[in-house]
Symmetry: C2
């Protein structure tokens, strides 16, 4: 493991994509000032922000994050970004940004196309090839191309981390990497898609699928394309990532059994309730494969109390038995913390 | 952090105390052969076992663990141990063993006297002073003397780890140390004493406190001295350790508010049930202090489904919000894994 960056040093960070996640990270870094840095022994200097339609900034001496957030929220544009790459099309802008922004870490937080995993995969490959560490909140590239991306990271002596792709900032991959040493992971099951979990709760109370989805959109938790949630794709991507990283599986998302909520008969919810059970969209993998399915759980099952946007993951191991992590009602700050935790992990060179 | 021992090297381990915990560790190491070692890149060689009344063994070339386990279970004595330190009294035997057994790590697993924390504290100090790492499953020394023990470990360039003192092998301290980097821990609450949790469950079903305790003893989960459980002392020790390590508190166990189950009126359980609530012995700490108390939780509370010997801990942080770990129905192997995880942590020199 290369230890180019020691505790106490500044790490320069380029933020690619400045939607909810990118802004939450900027807010976290701006609000905390040097604190997370101070606490973990490293400070982070954001040297650039690249957006698709709101301009791109490179400031080797450090971006004024408060001003950037203020400007993008009031004006819809990054401050003083108009002059950079004026005649370059959006996609090439990102590629030029990755190469030209002086950074140790590229935070990839662009909008996901879950089906093609683009343009995020191209961005990540470009950053790794340029010898930059990558932290991504994007499930698509990791679910579809983990082996290739990991090989590129290794070949370039850098790291690719993605804690926030599953359960936001809850330490899923970090825990498996650091805290279950010596254990073999035999399988897992989880409730990992907020939208479907919330919609199932609301449907149990009498709402229709459409009402439930409207509510999830209103709360800002649904994927931009709701079919990703209700068809089970988001859950499939997360299941693939977990199976790949925790169990060294070689499954592609297309090989994960996928049951979504499309056409769910409300009578099935009633029947479950009358039997003292609750319907949940379960993500699971074991020695026989991986699947996303609607499962009826008894009210005594730990997952039965995972309501709304909360999530849960049980990891089954040989030595430690079963261990479960719950994340309670996360918001954007938890996703941003997942990214920060990866940045700290890289800075510490673990 | 000293990195005297690199991955791949053997680490020599002296086991002090060969009751349930020590034997479970020996069984784990024996059954797995080189596997946990192989997986984590280090192998462990048990070079000695010291018991109070069943003999003491030192084998620099490695103890035959299968034979030792077999002999102690059939004969009540370690094999070929009769001749070692024949005229030395039990307490001095342990001290000679700590000094004379060639070991990098001393696993301290003697019987706990929770009130005096002895003889475990003396053993641990002796091992640290002799420049040996210590892994202990004993709550008493850590709860009563953490600062002093930690100072001694630092002064001697070794480590003192104790993952299995709270929630067996579930990675509580490891997670806080490795997976919440950059977060401040604001507080915690947990269900951490198996015996009282089981007894409360049984009392809810109509059993008396005495019936419940008899069942816990039958299952082998009650402390040797049941007053440690029912008076809340075990919970207080765990609460103290968590507050000290996670929140840098300077509370002694005597300063933790302690409510146990002594004299619990069954009517209180009935009243809770009739109100749709469940009575739990809660361990908690926040900015205002630390306490162990009987709390009425609604049936929708995640802790309401922690039944029998299972346990749960919620950690409240500034950046990550609340994260909860559940451990499902642990047995001796989980406690042994907690010790093994610490041994691996030491071997990796993190």
């Amino acid at each position: 493991m290369n230890r180019t960056h020691r505790a106490g040093a500044d790490m320069r960070v380029a933020i690619l994509g400045f939607g909810n996640v990118g802004r939450a990270l900027a807010r976290l870094l701006a609000a905390e000032g040097d604190r997370p840095a101070g606490r973990a022994g490293t400070s982070f200097l954001v040297t650039g922000i690249c957006t698709r339609t709101r301009g791109t900034l490179i400031r080797p001496e450090g971006v004024d994050l408060v001003r950037a957030l203020d400007s993008i929220e009031r004006e819809g544009l990054l401050p003083g970004a108009e002059a950079l790459f004026p005649s370059t099309p959006a996609r090439s802008t990102a590629e030029r940004f990755i190469l030209e922004c002086p950074a140790d870490i590229v935070v990839e937080a662009t909008t996901l196309d879950a089906r093609t995993a683009e343009p995020a995969t191209t961005h990540i490959m470009a950053a790794l090839s340029a010898g930059k560490h990558v932290v991504t909140a994007n499930k698509g590239p990791v679910a579809w191309h983990f082996r290739q991306l990991e090989a590129s990271a290794r070949a370039n002596g850098v790291r690719l981390l993605f804690e926030s792709t599953v359960m936001d900032g809850a330490p899923v991959f970090n825990m498996a990497r650091r805290c279950l040493r010596g254990c073999s992971i035999l399988g897992f099951r989880g409730i990992l898609n907020s939208t479907t979990n919330l919609v199932l709760d609301l449907m149990e109370e009498g709402a229709t699928l459409e009402d439930g989805l409207a509510k999830a959109r209103e709360m800002g938790i649904a994927e931009a394309d709701p079919s990703l949630d209700v068809e089970g794709w988001d859950a499939v991507l997360k299941t693939t990532i977990l199976a790949t990283v925790l169990m060294d599986s070689h499954l592609s998302p297309a090989e994960v059994h996928r049951e979504g909520m499309v056409g769910l008969d409300p009578a099935r919810l009633d029947a479950a309730r009358n039997a003292g059970r609750v319907l949940k969209l379960l993500c699971e993998a074991d020695g026989t494969g991986a699947r996303v399915r609607l499962a009826e759980l008894p009210r005594t099952h730990p997952f039965s109390i995972v309501r709304g946007t909360s999530s849960a993951l049980t990891i089954a191991t040989d030595l430690m038995g079963e261990i479960t992590i719950f994340e309670d009602d996360p918001g954007p700050i938890q996703t941003a913390y997942g990214i920060l935790a990866d940045m700290i992990e890289i800075a510490e060179g673990n």
